[in-house]
């Protein structure tokens, strides 16, 4: 009879990865831990390199013949163009302060997910081809040659970084792995090794203005659908306008909120708020996407997609732009838009027509975050709010990475939240504000084939939610990011069942007492308001 292995022997089989140095440990593509390769048609639409049918599990990735030259030259270009890249290649001392700060490392336990090592994946190549010591001493100087294996490794691990910048908070030199990942993805993009989940939305957004590729008439139709829903709940008919010239404000928000719950309720919230304060605003079907998956592809594609915002504002002759709740959209708007596509000298410094507040902080970009806008309204007492309508919701707030570490938008959403609901509990220190944990699916990784990795990456966040869920009975996770709203329901369902996900302005809308509204018995989700459980039955 064959020898039966003991349980701990069994456990050891393939358990510990081979104790080889990281440079000699090849990557293995397991389903659930990588995203599908970009389809050729999506690359062709925007004219991106090397469109072809391929998949990461293929042995042959069909790289261009001169892939090595392309990559080295691509690195050189970017070293010359970005001080960050050059500096971050040189100054890391591998002190390890960042090692355990990455949600993907914490959740997966894969040492190559330590930010320092993620950067070393490309630093080792930099040393080999761009430093004297690397050329001479090779691996003794931490250098290694560029091979196809390295490209595969880059693909695996740079699409396992959500560019959340948490590590850069802790780095004594401010080394930002997001910046390194952005460069690596640009290089991969030059070889056509990008993921379909970003390539598809990029192609769609380029042609139709939004990620799903919804054509203008359908987009309008969708929004009007919500007008009916709002009327049903509140008895008030809001009247959105589209592509209207001469409106005071152009409103742009991620299109994900138009098509998928629970973002849709947030979208309804915006419209109810704007109606109530009588804001003279318009939607645009051309710039119908706040999100920008170009940011996850390359600086150039980001710019090409982002250009629509100012172009449309100019065409419509609005005074300023108001931006909805979105994470990476706001990183782009706050840190890139004005530089890339400005100056927006055809716009005026944003001024709230309701309160008269001039948003000096946005005087150049001319775009205001809706949390800033609403906080200002509440501060000036312009909204009639009944927070008790949200009393059945015990709420916590997730700081989305980009508004947190790319803007510093911490107090505005909290201020709003505290005025629209009575039960708000913070998650533990160390998991909020600038130290917030990513949802595990940012930077274009929110695709379903990546579910396993998302569950790993989202574990630190979910774990903190679980804590407040158990301690305070939190049943609602509030966030100001559309990707969050898209991915948290799955994350919560897996790790913390019983916690639902909402946007800030859904809660605002629930609490908002509107002029001429009927007696509200349900919230926007058709769930009874606290104390209205019976009345709702009467209605039905």
């Amino acid at each position: 009879m064959a020898k039966v292995p003991k349980a701990d022997e069994l456990a050891k089989v393939n358990h510990r990865p081979p104790q080889t140095p990281w440079t000699e440990t090849p990557v293995e593509f397991r389903p659930g831990t990588f995203c599908y390769g970009a389809k050729p048609k999506n690359l062709e639409v925007v004219g991106l390199p090397n469109p072809r049918d391929w998949n990461p599990t293929d042995e042959d990735w069909k790289l261009p013949d001169d892939w090595k030259d392309i990559t080295i030259k691509g690195m050189k270009d970017r070293l010359d163009k970005f001080r960050t890249f050059k500096l971050f290649m040189d100054i890391c001392v591998r002190c390890g302060a960042c090692a355990d700060k990455c949600h993907f490392f914490i959740g997966s336990g894969d040492p190559k997910n330590m930010p320092v090592l993620r950067a070393e994946l490309i630093r080792s190549i930099y040393r080999k081809y761009f430093t004297g010591s690397g050329k001479i001493l090779s691996k003794y100087a931490g250098a290694r040659a560029l091979t196809e294996q390295v490209i595969k490794e880059w693909f695996y691990y740079f699409y396992q970084c959500s560019e959340c910048r948490r590590c850069s908070v802790f780095c004594p030199y401010g080394i930002d792995t997001a910046e390194v990942t952005i460069m690596a993805r640009e290089l991969l993009n030059e070889l056509g090794c990008t993921i379909d989940w970003t390539a598809g939305p990029v192609a769609n957004c380029y042609m139709t203005g939004n990620h799903l590729g919804i054509q203008p008439h359908a987009f309008k139709d969708m929004i009007e659908f919500f007008v009916d829903e709002i009327e049903e709940v509140t008895g008030v008919r809001v009247e959105p306008t589209f592509n209207r010239k001469g409106a005071e404000v152009l409103f742009i928000t991620p299109s994900g909120d138009v098509f998928a719950d629970p973002g849709t309720y947030t979208l309804m919230g915006y419209m109810m708020l704007f109606h109530e304060i009588g804001l003279d605003y318009t939607w645009s079907t051309y710039a119908s996407e706040g999100g920008n998956f170009g940011f996850f592809t390359s600086h150039e594609v980001m710019k090409r997609l982002n250009a629509k915002m100012y172009a449309e504002a100019k065409r419509l002759g609005v005074k300023w732009i108001l931006g909805g709740e979105c994470g990476h959209m706001w990183r782009v708007v706050n840190q890139y838009m004005d530089t890339m596509n400005g100056p927006a000298d055809f716009l005026e410094v944003p001024k709230s027509p309701i309160t008269g507040t001039v948003f000096e902080n946005a005087k150049s970009t001319k775009m205001v975050h809706i949390a800033e806008f609403t906080a200002d309204l509440i501060r000036h007492g312009k909204l009639k709010l009944d927070p008790s309508r949200n009393d059945n919701k015990i709420v916590t707030f997730h700081d989305s990475c980009n508004p947190a570490r790319g803007m510093g938008l911490f107090e505005e959403p909290r201020y709003v939240l505290k005025h629209v609901c009575n039960h708000f509990h913070e998650m533990p220190e160390g998991t909020i504000r600038e130290k917030t944990f990513c949802c595990g699916a940012g930077s274009g990784l929110n695709t379903d084939e990546y579910m396993e990795m998302r569950m790993r990456g989202g574990l630190p966040r979910a774990n903190a939610v679980r804590y407040v869920h158990e301690k305070h009975g939190v049943n609602m996770l509030t966030t100001i990011c559309a990707i969050d709203r898209a991915v948290f329901p799955a994350l919560m369902d897996y790790w913390v069942p019983g916690v639902d996900v909402t946007g800030l302005h859904e809660l605002v809308a629930n609490a908002l007492v509107m002029k001429g509204e009927k007696k509200r018995t349900t919230d926007l989700r058709y769930e009874p308001l606290p104390g209205m459980e019976d009345e709702e039955d009467d209605d039905v």
Partner: protein, 334 residues
Amino acid sequence: MNASRSIIFSLVAVGILVCLPLIGVAAGMTSFFGVIIPYLAVALFFIGVVARVVRWARSPVPFRIPTTCGQQKSLPWIQSDNLENPSDTKGVVLRMILEVLLFRSLFRNARMEFYEGPKIRYASAKWLWLGAIVFHYSFLVVLLRHLRFFSTPINPLVHLLEGVDGFLEVGVPRLYLSGLLLLAGVAFLFLRRVTIPQLKYISLPSDYFPLFLIFTIASTGVLMRYIYKVDVVSVKELTMGLATFHPVTPEGIGSLFYIHLFLVSVLFAYFPFSKLVHMAGVFLSPTRNLANTNRMVRHINPWNYPVKVHTYEEYEDEFREKMIEAGLPVEKKE
């Protein structure tokens, strides 16, 4: 390259570097090791660091991407955090000062929290901060103390520093704390690297080498001062010669001194070409040295270039009929 090979490689390298002056001085090459090498090293250091900084500076900062670690400046009634999220130059300067002088970001790791159980207090990462502070500051003090070898009369500030450094007033010659702290700091940084598996995994020979080098420099220094006392008068004659560009190589300086001097020279020469340049690099880090005035002041990208966009006109051309049908306003009605 695994950890033990990295360590052995670095040890051997430092070993060879120790042997070189030993053999050289025995062969009478005192002026080579006492004059030429130090001059070369210092020249390399300055030229190298300047070249490095220029090299970095030549690459522009196309986008303003500070890592914001505190509340932004937005509405007047919301308290903004000008230190963690600076909105003006003053804030940036303060942020950089804290970063450079106190290693603030590293300090962020510090946790002083109590968890379940009998008083487990966890602050492992704080040790890194403390170790780094001890190492860097004791190194600085040691370096400044050495100014006494390069000026006559000795700057009173150096005397003051020596007074503070030797405040314990024990031993003859008086014991300087900085030397011991430097050795302890280096030892800590090394032990960290070999005992924490994550760190061991990421460490390269270029992480061990400088530690060994500095350790050897500090040890030779300590040995010279307290045990195998060298002829300080001759040493000062040599160093003053170097400082005044009238180099001399007095007889009778022990080879221990030449080892010390040579390793210091190696450190200087190695500095600009290694990770040690982080000292200069930290000042240039765009995630720290820029104010978050992003929406207030337009940042200019010197290489900003026009890109192909899908214009509204192209968009309308494609969807005009459907737009008209849906009642959406259009520019051109056909």
